[in-house]
Point group: C2
């Protein structure tokens, strides 16, 4: 076994989820991630925690949804009972084909999700982490060989997360003290928003491994200006390029894309909150140095900013602030490495990817 | 996907476990059995039953037991909670290496089993089935190629189980009416036992798929004579050949083996009940036409008889009869195809593999 798999497992169990003696742990993983599961079991045994593994099998999920009658959708009570007694959730992505579920009717999935919302809440009440095992499917999606992709993944994951926490806290401090953020990039992006009263969060690899961003929520009706997302977006299994949005008082009033524009249309029409921003995130992890069509990595990439249409995270929203509500949370990325600036209260924070505190 | 996998899945869901709309189902399966899991999900979805899959990963189990301190062994409460809400259990064997767990200390496994006995009972209270997916590990153990092994497995599984039920019921009737059974084979096997007041069972593929035996329990102190098991036995990961036992009033009073005799010694020393028989089984499935070092198949093989040292099954033991109790249940097989006879109350039932009712 690649020694890096063991180091990854140790980070998941120690740093991310702080597993304790006697903890009941659910590992969710696919066939292709079995080696990481094995390494996680080794760490859990040493601590005296007790795992079971929920098998993620996307082909099985696909045929299940394809053959399930809507009227049979219900709460899955044995799964819920398990989560009620669970302390820690370790979810591992990694498959040989990232497109297996593409054909599934989103409606039946949504209905199933809705029927099992309480189970989802139980899972989020655990100490939890979502991570990636390097597999052929994600390597192909990233347009890399498997060995190259392994190096990419472990470069992002095997780092000193306490150092990162400290480094990123400089950006947290700026957002905590600031009220207005301006994002400028090239000719098409000039966006202003208030973050007044919102709570910026430091993501140093707790719920997401790798971590590497600082994120907050915009004040809902404060967003004005235009933005061009120059990194591709994967939505509904399709690639959307050059998404361009125009905001007025928080709401998207115009949009375009160079490809699959209708996907953006359907996203915006999901519900009322889908036309408002729920997140402003600043990617600060330079160990993630390329785009891989995998949001778990892409949104943390160094020299990027991402904005999400839809739901704002509870933790970001100040007590007296409105939380944008939506069924969606769609992240989109702006490359900030050239001809770009982040300003907070009109003071330069980052120029062409370089922070003022560097 | 091999169409036989789908037919196997349908038998598991319909014939073996009679899955109903709304049932909560736990599938236990290894990586290598993923195709059968997928086919099972298809059948479950059509019925409107709800599965989760427990991932069997023997390498992970091995490292877990190897690193678990005895004092950390406990009841796995989230697993138990899941089983409390489960209606149907479909357990699928199939791995790329049948020897992965060989090195694990049996004591820690036994301690873990004991701590989770209530969970085991919950599982047995479900409608349950144990089956085999044809994989490289079991093919290698059977000394066959993978394609040959696939044919072997599906020849045994894809049959008309109602026909088999009827065919085997002739043997059940004989044992229900009879009181004394005599097994004779070659020069070394001549064994008599009473089955008076015991309940013979017809295994036509409910809890085991494939099924194909009729079995009962001997009256505990009634077994007398000698027996040579001429099919190899796999115990504690080792092959034991030519096990020979001598019984007096139910108890083993002498034993030998041509290889690994010490394994038999340790089996007999497990507890008091380990020196007594718990089962007499008559293999009647001629679709299983060769020995494959896999008891799920071997004990149902046509023209064989098997006896088990140790625990008798609840269902076989008559109300006023003593149930042999033991931590073990060790099946051993006699080839009855040549120079062999089964007699019940001194009447011939089978000679050289041929039943009188054929």
């Amino acid at each position: 076994m690649d020694e890096r798999i063991r180091r990854h497992a140790k980070i998941l169990v120690d740093h991310c989820t702080d597993v304790q003696e006697g903890d009941m742990v659910v590992v969710s993983a696919s066939v292709e991630s079995r080696d990481l599961v094995t390494a996680v079991y080794e760490e859990l045994a040493k601590i005296g925690a007790h795992p079971i593994t929920k098998f993620r099998n996307s082909e099985a999920s696909r045929v299940f949804y394809d053959n399930l009658d809507e009227e049979h959708v219900t709460e899955v009570t044995h799964s819920k009972a398990m989560w009620e007694e669970t302390d820690v959730a370790i979810s591992i992505r990694g498959s040989s084909n990232t497109k297996t579920m593409n054909s599934v009717d989103p409606e039946i999935r949504n209905k199933h999700s809705k029927a099992n919302e309480e189970t989802r809440e139980l899972r989020l009440d655990c100490r939890w982490v979502l991570t990636q095992h390097p597999t052929s499917g994600q390597a192909q999606q990233a347009e890399m060989s498997e060995m190259e992709y392994e190096d990419f993944v472990y470069d992002a994951i095997l780092e000193d997360w306490e150092d990162r926490k400290e480094y990123q806290s400089q950006m947290v401090d700026i957002l905590e003290d600031g009220t207005e953020v301006q994002i400028e990039s090239g000719d098409d992006t000039d966006l202003r928003m208030s973050i007044d009263g919102m709570n910026p969060e430091n993501d140093y690899g707790e719920n997401n491994m790798p971590g590497g961003e600082v994120f907050t929520a915009p004040v809902k009706d404060s967003v004005n200006g235009t933005v061009l997302f120059d990194k591709p977006l994967l939505a509904h299994g399709r690639e959307v390029n050059d998404v361009y949005l125009e905001f007025e008082d928080g709401e998207v009033v115009d949009y375009s894309a160079s490809q699959n524009e209708e996907v953006i249309k359907s996203v915006l029409e999901t519900d009322d909150g889908a036309s408002y921003l729920g997140e402003l995130g600043i990617g600060m992890n330079r160990n993630i140095n390329r785009f891989t069509y995998n949001m778990l990595f892409d949104e943390k990439m160094g020299d990027t900013v991402h904005l999400a249409l839809g739901r704002a995270y509870d933790r970001n929203v100040g007590e007296d602030r409105e939380q944008n509500q939506s069924a969606i949370h769609m992240d989109m990325i702006i490359d900030m490495s050239e001809d770009s600036r982040i300003l907070v209260d009109d003071e330069l924070v980052q120029e062409d990817g370089e922070f003022v505190f560097e």
